[in-house]
Protein backbone atom coordinates (compact mmCIF):
# COMPACT_ATOMS: atom_id res chain seq x y z
CA UNK A 1 0.00 0.00 0.00
CA UNK A 2 1.10 3.53 -0.71
CA UNK A 3 -0.75 5.58 1.90
CA UNK A 4 2.45 7.32 2.90
CA UNK A 5 2.70 8.91 -0.55
CA UNK A 6 -0.99 9.48 -1.19
CA UNK A 7 -2.23 13.03 -1.00
CA UNK A 8 -5.49 14.09 0.65
CA UNK A 9 -7.81 16.03 -1.63
CA UNK A 10 -10.24 17.95 0.59
CA UNK A 11 -13.08 20.36 -0.16
CA UNK A 12 -14.79 22.40 2.53
CA UNK A 13 -18.22 23.84 1.73
CA UNK A 14 -19.24 26.84 3.82
CA UNK A 15 -21.98 29.46 3.82
CA UNK A 16 -20.57 32.98 3.54
CA UNK A 17 -18.21 34.33 6.17
CA UNK A 18 -20.17 33.46 9.28
CA UNK A 19 -18.45 32.80 12.61
CA UNK A 20 -19.19 29.12 12.07
CA UNK A 21 -17.34 29.28 8.75
CA UNK A 22 -14.29 30.78 10.42
CA UNK A 23 -14.34 28.22 13.23
CA UNK A 24 -14.53 25.36 10.74
CA UNK A 25 -11.68 26.71 8.61
CA UNK A 26 -9.47 27.27 11.68
CA UNK A 27 -10.22 23.79 13.02
CA UNK A 28 -9.52 22.15 9.69
CA UNK A 29 -6.25 24.00 9.14
CA UNK A 30 -5.04 23.00 12.58
CA UNK A 31 -5.97 19.34 12.13
CA UNK A 32 -4.38 19.17 8.69
CA UNK A 33 -1.16 20.73 9.93
CA UNK A 34 -0.96 18.36 12.87
CA UNK A 35 -2.02 15.17 11.14
CA UNK A 36 -1.48 15.45 7.42
CA UNK A 37 1.82 17.29 7.41
CA UNK A 38 1.55 18.93 4.03
CA UNK A 39 0.09 15.87 2.30
CA UNK A 40 -3.16 17.61 1.43
CA UNK A 41 -4.83 20.04 -0.90
CA UNK A 42 -7.73 22.05 0.50
CA UNK A 43 -10.32 23.98 -1.46
CA UNK A 44 -12.89 26.15 0.27
CA UNK A 45 -16.20 26.69 -1.55
CA UNK A 46 -18.75 29.30 -0.49
CA UNK A 47 -22.16 27.88 -1.44
CA UNK A 48 -23.65 31.37 -1.66
CA UNK A 49 -21.24 32.13 -4.50
CA UNK A 50 -21.29 28.67 -6.06
CA UNK A 51 -24.70 27.12 -5.35
CA UNK A 52 -24.43 24.88 -8.41
CA UNK A 53 -21.39 23.15 -6.91
CA UNK A 54 -23.39 22.43 -3.78
CA UNK A 55 -26.15 21.09 -6.03
CA UNK A 56 -23.76 18.86 -7.97
CA UNK A 57 -22.25 17.47 -4.78
CA UNK A 58 -25.67 17.23 -3.08
CA UNK A 59 -24.53 19.23 -0.08
CA UNK A 60 -27.23 20.06 2.47
CA UNK A 61 -25.38 21.15 5.56
CA UNK A 62 -22.63 23.68 6.01
CA UNK A 63 -19.87 23.36 6.88
CA UNK A 64 -19.35 20.06 5.02
CA UNK A 65 -15.90 18.62 4.52
CA UNK A 66 -15.49 16.15 1.68
CA UNK A 67 -12.52 13.85 1.33
CA UNK A 68 -12.31 13.08 -2.36
CA UNK A 69 -8.99 11.32 -2.26
CA UNK A 70 -7.82 8.88 -1.22
CA UNK A 71 -10.91 6.84 -1.91
CA UNK A 72 -13.44 6.06 -0.56
CA UNK A 73 -15.30 9.33 -0.49
CA UNK A 74 -16.07 10.52 3.02
CA UNK A 75 -18.03 13.42 4.46
CA UNK A 76 -17.77 15.23 7.75
CA UNK A 77 -20.41 17.80 8.59
CA UNK A 78 -20.21 20.41 11.32
CA UNK A 79 -17.67 23.00 12.48
CA UNK A 80 -15.06 20.23 12.90
CA UNK A 81 -14.65 20.99 16.61
CA UNK A 82 -14.52 17.31 17.50
CA UNK A 83 -11.11 16.34 16.21
CA UNK A 84 -11.47 12.61 16.81
CA UNK A 85 -14.58 12.49 14.69
CA UNK A 86 -12.90 14.46 11.92
CA UNK A 87 -10.02 11.98 11.90
CA UNK A 88 -12.47 9.10 11.94
CA UNK A 89 -14.32 10.62 9.01
CA UNK A 90 -11.12 11.22 7.07
CA UNK A 91 -9.73 7.81 8.07
CA UNK A 92 -6.57 9.38 9.40
CA UNK A 93 -4.86 7.81 12.40
CA UNK A 94 -4.00 10.47 14.98
CA UNK A 95 -0.52 11.65 16.03
CA UNK A 96 0.93 11.97 12.58
CA UNK A 97 1.27 8.22 12.16
CA UNK A 98 0.54 6.94 8.67
CA UNK A 99 -3.05 5.88 8.15
CA UNK A 100 -1.93 2.58 6.64
CA UNK A 101 -2.94 0.32 9.43
CA UNK A 102 -4.17 -3.01 8.05
CA UNK A 103 -6.87 -3.34 10.66
CA UNK A 104 -8.13 0.15 9.96
CA UNK A 105 -8.25 -0.38 6.20
CA UNK A 106 -9.99 -3.67 6.40
CA UNK A 107 -12.70 -2.04 8.43
CA UNK A 108 -13.77 0.09 5.49
Amino acid sequence: MEEVLSKYLLTLYVTGTSPRTRIAIDNLNRICKQELDGRYELEIVDVLEHPQRAEDEKILATPTLIKQLPLPLRRVIGDLSDKDKVLLGLEVRPNGVSSSSPSFNSAT
Binding site: L48, A54, A61, R75, V76, D79
Partner: protein
Protein backbone atom coordinates in the same frame (compact mmCIF):
# COMPACT_ATOMS: atom_id res chain seq x y z
CA UNK B 1 -62.67 33.01 -8.92
CA UNK B 2 -61.14 35.95 -7.17
CA UNK B 3 -60.84 36.89 -3.57
CA UNK B 4 -63.68 39.38 -3.39
CA UNK B 5 -64.45 38.58 0.22
CA UNK B 6 -60.90 38.55 1.47
CA UNK B 7 -58.79 41.07 -0.37
CA UNK B 8 -55.97 40.67 2.16
CA UNK B 9 -54.73 37.30 0.92
CA UNK B 10 -54.50 36.62 -2.79
CA UNK B 11 -55.08 33.09 -4.02
CA UNK B 12 -53.07 31.18 -6.56
CA UNK B 13 -55.16 29.05 -8.91
CA UNK B 14 -53.39 25.71 -8.69
CA UNK B 15 -54.76 24.32 -11.95
CA UNK B 16 -55.98 21.21 -10.14
CA UNK B 17 -59.54 22.31 -10.85
CA UNK B 18 -61.23 20.13 -8.27
CA UNK B 19 -58.83 21.39 -5.58
CA UNK B 20 -59.43 25.00 -6.57
CA UNK B 21 -63.13 24.47 -5.96
CA UNK B 22 -62.77 23.33 -2.36
CA UNK B 23 -59.98 25.84 -1.78
CA UNK B 24 -62.34 28.56 -3.09
CA UNK B 25 -59.99 29.79 -5.77
CA UNK B 26 -56.68 28.18 -4.93
CA UNK B 27 -53.88 28.17 -2.40
CA UNK B 28 -52.88 31.35 -0.56
CA UNK B 29 -50.39 33.03 -2.87
CA UNK B 30 -46.77 33.55 -1.87
CA UNK B 31 -47.29 31.48 1.24
CA UNK B 32 -46.44 27.99 2.30
CA UNK B 33 -49.08 25.35 2.82
CA UNK B 34 -48.42 22.30 4.91
CA UNK B 35 -49.78 19.05 3.47
CA UNK B 36 -49.84 16.47 6.19
CA UNK B 37 -50.72 12.82 5.85
CA UNK B 38 -49.85 9.28 6.87
CA UNK B 39 -47.65 7.04 4.77
CA UNK B 40 -49.32 6.29 1.46
CA UNK B 41 -51.81 9.13 1.67
CA UNK B 42 -50.65 10.64 -1.62
CA UNK B 43 -48.42 13.48 -0.42
CA UNK B 44 -45.74 13.08 -3.07
CA UNK B 45 -48.23 12.80 -5.93
CA UNK B 46 -49.97 15.88 -4.58
CA UNK B 47 -46.70 17.79 -4.36
CA UNK B 48 -45.74 16.87 -7.93
CA UNK B 49 -49.23 17.51 -9.29
CA UNK B 50 -49.11 21.02 -7.84
CA UNK B 51 -45.99 21.69 -9.92
CA UNK B 52 -47.25 19.85 -13.02
CA UNK B 53 -50.48 21.85 -13.02
CA UNK B 54 -48.42 25.03 -12.65
CA UNK B 55 -46.16 24.15 -15.57
CA UNK B 56 -49.27 23.64 -17.70
CA UNK B 57 -50.31 27.17 -16.75
CA UNK B 58 -46.85 28.48 -17.66
CA UNK B 59 -45.61 28.72 -14.08
CA UNK B 60 -42.25 27.00 -13.57
CA UNK B 61 -41.57 25.03 -10.41
CA UNK B 62 -38.90 23.56 -8.15
CA UNK B 63 -39.19 20.17 -6.51
CA UNK B 64 -37.13 19.64 -3.37
CA UNK B 65 -36.99 15.96 -2.53
CA UNK B 66 -35.68 14.68 0.80
CA UNK B 67 -36.99 11.18 0.58
CA UNK B 68 -36.95 9.66 -2.89
CA UNK B 69 -34.11 10.43 -5.26
CA UNK B 70 -34.86 12.73 -8.20
CA UNK B 71 -34.43 9.75 -10.53
CA UNK B 72 -37.06 7.77 -8.62
CA UNK B 73 -39.49 10.68 -8.63
CA UNK B 74 -39.05 11.11 -12.41
CA UNK B 75 -39.73 7.44 -12.93
CA UNK B 76 -42.67 7.14 -10.53
CA UNK B 77 -44.48 10.14 -11.99
CA UNK B 78 -44.38 8.88 -15.57
CA UNK B 79 -47.54 6.86 -15.00
CA UNK B 80 -49.42 10.12 -14.39
CA UNK B 81 -48.37 11.41 -17.79
CA UNK B 82 -45.94 13.92 -16.27
CA UNK B 83 -42.65 13.96 -18.13
CA UNK B 84 -40.48 15.66 -15.52
CA UNK B 85 -37.24 15.11 -17.45
CA UNK B 86 -38.73 16.88 -20.46
CA UNK B 87 -39.80 19.83 -18.32
CA UNK B 88 -36.32 19.98 -16.80
CA UNK B 89 -34.83 20.15 -20.29
CA UNK B 90 -37.22 22.92 -21.24
CA UNK B 91 -36.23 24.88 -18.14
CA UNK B 92 -39.69 24.67 -16.58
CA UNK B 93 -38.75 22.47 -13.67
CA UNK B 94 -35.70 22.06 -11.46
CA UNK B 95 -34.96 19.42 -8.87
CA UNK B 96 -33.14 19.94 -5.63
CA UNK B 97 -32.18 16.39 -4.82
CA UNK B 98 -31.64 16.27 -1.07
CA UNK B 99 -32.31 12.57 -0.72
CA UNK B 100 -29.84 10.65 1.41
CA UNK B 101 -27.00 8.97 -0.45
CA UNK B 102 -26.34 5.62 1.19
CA UNK B 103 -23.03 5.34 -0.66
CA UNK B 104 -21.43 8.18 1.24
CA UNK B 105 -20.67 7.76 4.90
CA UNK B 106 -21.16 10.92 6.86
CA UNK B 107 -19.77 11.82 10.25
CA UNK B 108 -21.06 14.71 12.34
CA UNK B 109 -18.47 16.81 14.11
CA UNK B 110 -19.69 19.97 15.79
CA UNK B 111 -22.41 22.39 14.91
CA UNK B 112 -23.80 22.98 11.45
CA UNK B 113 -26.73 24.49 9.61
CA UNK B 114 -28.60 23.81 6.35
CA UNK B 115 -27.19 26.89 4.61
CA UNK B 116 -26.21 24.86 1.55
CA UNK B 117 -29.76 23.61 1.13
CA UNK B 118 -31.19 27.11 1.30
CA UNK B 119 -28.60 28.25 -1.28
CA UNK B 120 -29.53 25.36 -3.57
CA UNK B 121 -33.26 26.07 -3.37
CA UNK B 122 -32.60 29.74 -4.06
CA UNK B 123 -30.36 28.76 -6.97
CA UNK B 124 -32.98 26.44 -8.47
CA UNK B 125 -35.74 29.04 -8.08
CA UNK B 126 -33.58 31.64 -9.83
CA UNK B 127 -32.57 29.21 -12.56
CA UNK B 128 -36.10 28.40 -13.79
CA UNK B 129 -37.76 31.58 -12.46
CA UNK B 130 -39.99 29.40 -10.35
CA UNK B 131 -43.18 30.64 -8.79
CA UNK B 132 -44.03 27.30 -7.19
CA UNK B 133 -41.97 25.11 -4.89
CA UNK B 134 -42.81 21.68 -3.47
CA UNK B 135 -40.81 20.25 -0.59
CA UNK B 136 -41.29 16.52 0.03
CA UNK B 137 -41.07 15.69 2.87
CA UNK B 138 -40.07 17.46 6.06
CA UNK B 139 -39.97 14.29 8.12
CA UNK B 140 -37.22 12.88 5.95
CA UNK B 141 -34.98 15.83 6.84
CA UNK B 142 -35.19 14.90 10.48
CA UNK B 143 -34.14 11.35 9.77
CA UNK B 144 -30.98 12.55 8.03
CA UNK B 145 -29.60 14.40 11.03
CA UNK B 146 -29.20 13.63 14.70
CA UNK B 147 -29.80 17.13 16.04
CA UNK B 148 -33.58 17.54 15.83
CA UNK B 149 -33.63 21.00 17.41
CA UNK B 150 -31.18 22.21 14.78
CA UNK B 151 -33.29 20.75 11.97
CA UNK B 152 -36.44 22.38 13.33
CA UNK B 153 -34.70 25.74 13.46
CA UNK B 154 -33.31 25.30 9.97
CA UNK B 155 -36.67 24.32 8.51
CA UNK B 156 -38.09 27.48 9.96
CA UNK B 157 -35.35 29.35 8.14
CA UNK B 158 -36.21 27.57 4.90
CA UNK B 159 -39.89 28.43 5.31
CA UNK B 160 -38.99 32.10 5.80
CA UNK B 161 -36.59 31.94 2.86
CA UNK B 162 -39.37 30.56 0.64
CA UNK B 163 -41.61 33.43 1.70
CA UNK B 164 -38.85 35.90 0.89
CA UNK B 165 -38.43 34.34 -2.57
CA UNK B 166 -42.07 35.18 -3.31
CA UNK B 167 -43.02 31.62 -4.25
CA UNK B 168 -46.14 29.66 -3.37
CA UNK B 169 -44.94 26.52 -1.67
CA UNK B 170 -46.22 23.16 -0.55
CA UNK B 171 -44.41 21.39 2.25
CA UNK B 172 -45.38 17.82 2.96
CA UNK B 173 -45.12 16.25 6.38
CA UNK B 174 -45.82 12.86 7.90
CA UNK B 175 -48.27 12.18 10.63
CA UNK B 176 -48.43 9.05 12.71
CA UNK B 177 -52.14 8.36 12.29
CA UNK B 178 -55.13 9.74 10.45
CA UNK B 179 -56.70 11.51 13.39
CA UNK B 180 -53.85 12.47 15.70
CA UNK B 181 -51.59 15.54 15.86
CA UNK B 182 -51.23 17.46 12.60
CA UNK B 183 -47.67 16.31 11.94
CA UNK B 184 -44.68 14.65 13.54
CA UNK B 185 -41.66 16.56 14.85
CA UNK B 186 -43.90 19.53 15.68
CA UNK B 187 -43.32 21.09 12.27
CA UNK B 188 -46.81 22.58 12.26
CA UNK B 189 -45.59 24.99 14.91
CA UNK B 190 -43.69 27.07 12.41
CA UNK B 191 -45.61 26.57 9.17
CA UNK B 192 -49.13 26.43 10.46
CA UNK B 193 -50.61 29.30 8.46
CA UNK B 194 -52.18 26.96 5.96
CA UNK B 195 -52.71 23.29 6.67
CA UNK B 196 -54.27 20.61 4.50
CA UNK B 197 -54.65 17.02 5.62
CA UNK B 198 -54.68 13.96 3.39
CA UNK B 199 -56.21 10.84 4.86
CA UNK B 200 -56.15 7.29 3.65
CA UNK B 201 -58.35 5.61 6.16
CA UNK B 202 -59.18 1.94 6.29
CA UNK B 203 -62.93 1.61 6.76
CA UNK B 204 -64.67 -1.72 6.48
CA UNK B 205 -61.68 -3.25 4.70
CA UNK B 206 -61.58 -0.60 2.01
CA UNK B 207 -59.32 2.40 1.66
CA UNK B 208 -60.92 5.77 1.44
CA UNK B 209 -58.91 8.86 0.58
CA UNK B 210 -60.04 12.24 1.79
CA UNK B 211 -58.63 15.73 1.76
CA UNK B 212 -59.43 18.39 4.30
CA UNK B 213 -58.39 22.01 4.40
CA UNK B 214 -57.82 22.51 8.10
CA UNK B 215 -57.05 26.19 7.82
CA UNK B 216 -56.09 28.94 5.43
CA UNK B 217 -55.08 31.88 7.54
CA UNK B 218 -56.87 34.99 6.39
CA UNK B 219 -58.92 33.43 3.63
CA UNK B 220 -61.89 31.26 2.97
CA UNK B 221 -62.17 27.59 1.99
CA UNK B 222 -64.66 24.72 2.03
CA UNK B 223 -64.85 22.90 5.34
CA UNK B 224 -64.79 19.21 6.01
CA UNK B 225 -63.37 16.14 4.36
CA UNK B 226 -63.73 15.60 0.63
CA UNK B 227 -63.09 12.29 -1.02
CA UNK B 228 -60.33 12.28 -3.58
CA UNK B 229 -58.66 9.75 -5.77
CA UNK B 230 -55.34 9.32 -7.51
CA UNK B 231 -55.56 7.94 -11.01
CA UNK B 232 -53.10 7.41 -13.85
CA UNK B 233 -53.08 10.25 -16.39
CA UNK B 234 -55.03 12.35 -13.92
CA UNK B 235 -53.13 12.66 -10.67
CA UNK B 236 -55.05 13.96 -7.71
CA UNK B 237 -58.77 14.42 -8.32
CA UNK B 238 -60.85 15.82 -5.50
CA UNK B 239 -64.57 15.16 -5.53
CA UNK B 240 -66.13 18.42 -4.34
CA UNK B 241 -69.59 17.19 -3.39
CA UNK B 242 -71.14 20.31 -1.94
CA UNK B 243 -69.86 22.52 -4.71
CA UNK B 244 -71.39 20.21 -7.29
CA UNK B 245 -74.80 20.16 -5.68
CA UNK B 246 -75.07 23.93 -5.85
CA UNK B 247 -74.85 24.03 -9.60
CA UNK B 248 -77.73 21.65 -10.30
CA UNK B 249 -80.32 22.78 -12.80
CA UNK B 250 -83.87 21.62 -13.24
CA UNK B 251 -85.72 20.95 -16.46
CA UNK B 252 -89.42 20.71 -17.27
CA UNK B 253 -88.91 18.89 -20.55
CA UNK B 254 -90.36 15.39 -20.51
CA UNK B 255 -88.80 12.47 -22.30
CA UNK B 256 -90.09 8.99 -22.87
CA UNK B 257 -89.09 6.10 -20.65
CA UNK B 258 -89.21 3.96 -23.78
CA UNK B 259 -92.57 2.49 -22.77
CA UNK B 260 -95.65 4.66 -23.16
CA UNK B 261 -97.51 2.82 -20.41
CA UNK B 262 -94.74 3.61 -17.96
CA UNK B 263 -94.72 7.18 -19.26
CA UNK B 264 -98.40 7.42 -18.42
CA UNK B 265 -97.79 6.16 -14.91
CA UNK B 266 -95.13 8.86 -14.53
CA UNK B 267 -97.48 11.61 -15.57
CA UNK B 268 -96.13 11.91 -19.10
CA UNK B 269 -92.57 10.64 -18.96
CA UNK B 270 -89.34 11.37 -17.10
CA UNK B 271 -87.95 14.88 -16.75
CA UNK B 272 -84.95 15.40 -18.95
CA UNK B 273 -82.35 15.95 -16.24
CA UNK B 274 -83.88 13.64 -13.67
CA UNK B 275 -82.49 10.49 -12.17
CA UNK B 276 -84.78 7.52 -11.70
CA UNK B 277 -84.13 4.64 -9.37
CA UNK B 278 -85.60 1.30 -10.43
CA UNK B 279 -85.69 -1.08 -7.52
CA UNK B 280 -86.68 -4.71 -7.48
CA UNK B 281 -85.67 -8.26 -6.71
CA UNK B 282 -83.61 -10.25 -9.14
CA UNK B 283 -85.59 -11.13 -12.27
CA UNK B 284 -88.38 -8.61 -11.76
CA UNK B 285 -87.44 -6.72 -14.93
CA UNK B 286 -84.95 -4.04 -13.92
CA UNK B 287 -82.62 -4.68 -16.81
CA UNK B 288 -85.63 -4.72 -19.14
CA UNK B 289 -86.70 -1.33 -17.82
CA UNK B 290 -83.17 -0.11 -18.50
CA UNK B 291 -83.12 -1.64 -21.97
CA UNK B 292 -86.37 -0.01 -23.02
CA UNK B 293 -85.20 3.29 -21.56
CA UNK B 294 -82.12 3.11 -23.78
CA UNK B 295 -84.09 1.87 -26.76
CA UNK B 296 -86.49 4.77 -26.34
CA UNK B 297 -83.60 7.19 -26.39
CA UNK B 298 -81.92 5.65 -29.40
CA UNK B 299 -85.25 5.64 -31.27
CA UNK B 300 -85.23 9.44 -30.89
CA UNK B 301 -81.64 9.63 -32.10
CA UNK B 302 -80.30 10.24 -28.59
CA UNK B 303 -76.97 8.82 -27.53
CA UNK B 304 -77.26 6.33 -24.70
CA UNK B 305 -74.70 4.95 -22.29
CA UNK B 306 -75.11 1.70 -20.38
CA UNK B 307 -72.81 0.87 -17.50
CA UNK B 308 -73.35 -2.77 -16.68
CA UNK B 309 -71.83 -4.21 -13.53
CA UNK B 310 -73.86 -7.37 -13.22
CA UNK B 311 -74.03 -9.03 -16.60
CA UNK B 312 -71.53 -9.72 -19.34
CA UNK B 313 -71.86 -8.01 -22.67
CA UNK B 314 -73.00 -11.18 -24.40
CA UNK B 315 -75.70 -11.80 -21.82
CA UNK B 316 -76.97 -8.25 -22.14
CA UNK B 317 -77.10 -8.32 -25.91
CA UNK B 318 -78.85 -11.70 -25.87
CA UNK B 319 -81.43 -10.60 -23.31
CA UNK B 320 -82.08 -7.39 -25.21
CA UNK B 321 -82.62 -9.38 -28.40
CA UNK B 322 -85.15 -11.48 -26.51
CA UNK B 323 -87.14 -8.31 -25.77
CA UNK B 324 -86.85 -7.12 -29.35
CA UNK B 325 -84.02 -4.60 -28.91
CA UNK B 326 -80.98 -4.79 -31.18
CA UNK B 327 -78.18 -3.39 -29.02
CA UNK B 328 -75.49 -4.25 -31.55
CA UNK B 329 -77.22 -2.29 -34.28
CA UNK B 330 -77.65 0.65 -31.91
CA UNK B 331 -73.93 0.52 -31.20
CA UNK B 332 -73.10 0.42 -34.89
CA UNK B 333 -75.30 3.50 -35.33
CA UNK B 334 -73.24 5.23 -32.66
CA UNK B 335 -76.30 5.67 -30.45
CA UNK B 336 -75.35 3.23 -27.73
CA UNK B 337 -72.25 2.44 -25.79
CA UNK B 338 -72.21 -0.52 -23.45
CA UNK B 339 -69.50 -0.58 -20.80
CA UNK B 340 -69.29 -3.85 -18.89
CA UNK B 341 -66.89 -4.19 -16.02
CA UNK B 342 -66.29 -5.82 -12.68
CA UNK B 343 -67.25 -3.43 -9.91
CA UNK B 344 -64.41 -4.62 -7.67
CA UNK B 345 -61.73 -3.52 -10.11
CA UNK B 346 -61.32 -0.16 -8.47
CA UNK B 347 -62.58 2.00 -5.64
CA UNK B 348 -65.74 4.07 -5.87
CA UNK B 349 -63.87 7.35 -6.21
CA UNK B 350 -62.01 5.87 -9.16
CA UNK B 351 -65.26 4.64 -10.66
CA UNK B 352 -66.75 8.09 -10.38
CA UNK B 353 -63.81 9.65 -12.17
CA UNK B 354 -63.78 6.89 -14.79
CA UNK B 355 -67.50 7.20 -15.44
CA UNK B 356 -67.26 10.98 -15.65
CA UNK B 357 -64.48 10.51 -18.18
CA UNK B 358 -66.60 8.17 -20.31
CA UNK B 359 -69.58 10.54 -20.17
CA UNK B 360 -67.48 13.55 -21.10
CA UNK B 361 -65.94 11.69 -23.99
CA UNK B 362 -69.10 9.99 -25.36
CA UNK B 363 -71.57 12.78 -24.57
CA UNK B 364 -74.75 10.74 -24.06
CA UNK B 365 -78.24 12.19 -23.51
CA UNK B 366 -79.25 9.16 -21.48
CA UNK B 367 -77.33 6.90 -19.20
CA UNK B 368 -78.22 3.87 -17.18
CA UNK B 369 -76.29 2.10 -14.46
CA UNK B 370 -77.20 -1.52 -13.82
CA UNK B 371 -76.91 -2.00 -10.92
CA UNK B 372 -75.93 0.34 -8.12
CA UNK B 373 -76.17 -2.56 -5.71
CA UNK B 374 -73.19 -4.17 -7.39
CA UNK B 375 -71.13 -1.11 -6.48
CA UNK B 376 -72.47 -0.91 -2.98
CA UNK B 377 -70.02 -3.40 -1.56
CA UNK B 378 -66.97 -1.88 -3.20
CA UNK B 379 -66.64 0.80 -0.55
CA UNK B 380 -68.09 2.01 2.69
CA UNK B 381 -71.65 3.25 2.96
CA UNK B 382 -70.37 6.80 3.14
CA UNK B 383 -68.22 6.37 0.07
CA UNK B 384 -71.20 4.84 -1.72
CA UNK B 385 -73.43 7.78 -0.90
CA UNK B 386 -70.72 10.15 -2.07
CA UNK B 387 -70.42 8.19 -5.28
CA UNK B 388 -74.16 8.48 -5.94
CA UNK B 389 -74.19 12.18 -5.05
CA UNK B 390 -71.18 12.78 -7.26
CA UNK B 391 -72.61 10.87 -10.22
CA UNK B 392 -76.11 12.32 -9.83
CA UNK B 393 -74.81 15.88 -9.69
CA UNK B 394 -72.54 15.28 -12.63
CA UNK B 395 -75.17 13.88 -14.97
CA UNK B 396 -77.69 16.53 -13.95
CA UNK B 397 -75.12 19.18 -14.67
CA UNK B 398 -74.66 17.65 -18.11
CA UNK B 399 -78.47 17.49 -18.54
CA UNK B 400 -78.40 13.75 -18.97
CA UNK B 401 -81.39 11.61 -18.01
CA UNK B 402 -80.25 8.90 -15.68
CA UNK B 403 -81.59 5.56 -14.60
CA UNK B 404 -80.04 3.51 -11.80
CA UNK B 405 -81.16 0.11 -10.70
CA UNK B 406 -81.07 -1.36 -7.21
CA UNK B 407 -81.53 -4.98 -6.26
CA UNK B 408 -83.59 -5.85 -3.21
CA UNK B 409 -82.25 -8.54 -0.96
CA UNK B 410 -85.45 -10.52 -0.63
CA UNK B 411 -87.51 -11.86 -3.49
CA UNK B 412 -90.86 -10.80 -2.12
CA UNK B 413 -91.22 -7.18 -1.11
CA UNK B 414 -88.61 -5.75 1.17
CA UNK B 415 -86.28 -2.91 0.47
CA UNK B 416 -82.64 -2.79 -0.45
CA UNK B 417 -79.83 -1.11 1.39
CA UNK B 418 -79.12 0.76 -1.80
CA UNK B 419 -82.62 2.10 -1.92
CA UNK B 420 -82.78 3.28 1.66
CA UNK B 421 -79.49 5.10 1.35
CA UNK B 422 -79.97 6.91 -1.90
CA UNK B 423 -83.73 7.27 -2.29
CA UNK B 424 -83.54 10.91 -1.27
CA UNK B 425 -80.90 11.56 -3.90
CA UNK B 426 -82.94 10.43 -6.86
CA UNK B 427 -85.88 12.27 -8.40
CA UNK B 428 -88.10 9.30 -9.15
CA UNK B 429 -88.42 5.81 -7.78
CA UNK B 430 -90.03 2.93 -9.63
CA UNK B 431 -90.57 -0.27 -7.71
CA UNK B 432 -90.80 -3.66 -9.37
CA UNK B 433 -92.17 -6.41 -7.14
CA UNK B 434 -93.17 -10.04 -7.28
CA UNK B 435 -96.78 -10.51 -6.25
CA UNK B 436 -97.99 -13.95 -5.24
CA UNK B 437 -101.59 -14.57 -6.23
CA UNK B 438 -103.39 -17.87 -5.86
CA UNK B 439 -100.36 -19.98 -6.69
CA UNK B 440 -99.07 -17.67 -9.41
CA UNK B 441 -96.25 -15.21 -9.19
CA UNK B 442 -97.07 -12.02 -11.01
CA UNK B 443 -95.08 -8.87 -11.39
CA UNK B 444 -96.12 -5.51 -10.06
CA UNK B 445 -94.89 -2.04 -10.91
CA UNK B 446 -95.52 1.21 -9.10
CA UNK B 447 -94.21 4.74 -9.24
CA UNK B 448 -93.36 5.52 -5.65
CA UNK B 449 -92.06 9.01 -6.15
CA UNK B 450 -91.89 11.46 -9.01
CA UNK B 451 -90.35 14.76 -7.99
CA UNK B 452 -92.17 17.76 -9.38
CA UNK B 453 -95.00 15.83 -11.02
CA UNK B 454 -98.17 13.95 -10.35
CA UNK B 455 -98.08 10.24 -11.04
CA UNK B 456 -100.15 7.07 -10.91
CA UNK B 457 -100.30 5.81 -7.31
CA UNK B 458 -101.55 2.34 -8.20
CA UNK B 459 -99.56 -0.87 -8.11
CA UNK B 460 -100.10 -2.36 -11.54
CA UNK B 461 -99.52 -5.76 -12.91
CA UNK B 462 -97.11 -6.04 -15.78
CA UNK B 463 -96.03 -8.83 -18.08
CA UNK B 464 -92.84 -9.35 -20.03
CA UNK B 465 -93.29 -10.56 -23.58
CA UNK B 466 -91.34 -10.78 -26.82
CA UNK B 467 -91.76 -7.07 -27.37
CA UNK B 468 -90.90 -5.92 -23.89
CA UNK B 469 -92.97 -4.76 -20.97
CA UNK B 470 -96.75 -4.44 -20.85
CA UNK B 471 -98.34 -2.64 -17.98
CA UNK B 472 -101.82 -3.83 -17.16
CA UNK B 473 -104.40 -3.13 -14.52
CA UNK B 474 -103.91 -2.29 -10.90
CA UNK B 475 -103.92 -4.89 -8.15
CA UNK B 476 -106.94 -3.70 -6.21
CA UNK B 477 -107.91 -6.65 -4.11
CA UNK B 478 -104.44 -7.30 -2.75
CA UNK B 479 -102.77 -5.35 0.03
CA UNK B 480 -99.31 -5.63 1.48
CA UNK B 481 -97.47 -6.05 -1.83
CA UNK B 482 -94.73 -3.60 -0.90
CA UNK B 483 -94.11 -5.24 2.45
CA UNK B 484 -93.71 -8.59 0.71
CA UNK B 485 -96.74 -10.23 2.36
CA UNK B 486 -99.66 -9.78 -0.03
CA UNK B 487 -103.04 -10.39 1.52
CA UNK B 488 -106.14 -10.87 -0.60
CA UNK B 489 -109.19 -8.95 0.34
CA UNK B 490 -112.71 -9.45 -0.93
CA UNK B 491 -114.14 -6.96 -3.43
CA UNK B 492 -116.65 -5.97 -0.76
CA UNK B 493 -113.90 -4.85 1.60
CA UNK B 494 -112.27 -2.87 -1.16
CA UNK B 495 -115.53 -1.12 -1.98
CA UNK B 496 -116.14 -0.24 1.67
CA UNK B 497 -112.66 1.19 2.23
CA UNK B 498 -112.77 3.25 -0.92
CA UNK B 499 -116.27 4.57 -0.31
CA UNK B 500 -115.15 5.83 3.11
CA UNK B 501 -112.07 7.32 1.52
CA UNK B 502 -114.21 8.97 -1.14
CA UNK B 503 -116.34 10.65 1.50
CA UNK B 504 -113.27 11.91 3.28
CA UNK B 505 -111.39 13.23 0.28
CA UNK B 506 -114.37 14.18 -1.79
CA UNK B 507 -112.98 14.36 -5.29
CA UNK B 508 -111.08 11.12 -5.14
CA UNK B 509 -111.80 8.99 -8.17
CA UNK B 510 -113.04 5.46 -7.71
CA UNK B 511 -110.60 2.63 -8.31
CA UNK B 512 -110.82 0.40 -11.32
CA UNK B 513 -112.22 -3.02 -10.83
CA UNK B 514 -109.66 -5.58 -9.85
CA UNK B 515 -107.58 -7.59 -12.24
CA UNK B 516 -108.13 -10.86 -10.44
CA UNK B 517 -111.86 -10.43 -10.25
Amino acid sequence: MTNTNHPAVEKLRTGISSLDIIAKGGLPKNRTTLISGTAGSGKTVFAVHFLAAGIELGEPGVFVTFEESAADVRKNMQSFGWDLAQWEEEGKLAFVDASPDPQVETVESGEFDLGALVARVQNAVNKVKATRVSVDSLGAVFSQFEDQAMVRGELFRIASALKAMGVTAILTAERADDHGPVARFGVEEFIADNVMILRNALEDETRRRTIEILKFRGCDHQKGEYPFTIIPDGGVIVIPLSAMQLSMKSSNVRISSGNHEVDEMCGGGFFRDSVTLVSGATGTGKTLTVAQFLQGGAANGEKCLLLAFEESRDQLVRNATGWGFDFEQMERDGLLRVVCDYPDLSGLEDWLVTIQGIITEFGPQRMALDSLSALENVGTLKAFREFVIGLTSFIKHKEITGMFTATTGTLMGGDSITESNISTLTDSIILLRYVEMFGDVKRGITVLKMRGSGHDKAIREFTIGKDGMHVGRAFRNVTGILSGAPVHVTPGDVERVWSQYDKAVGERRRPETTSGH
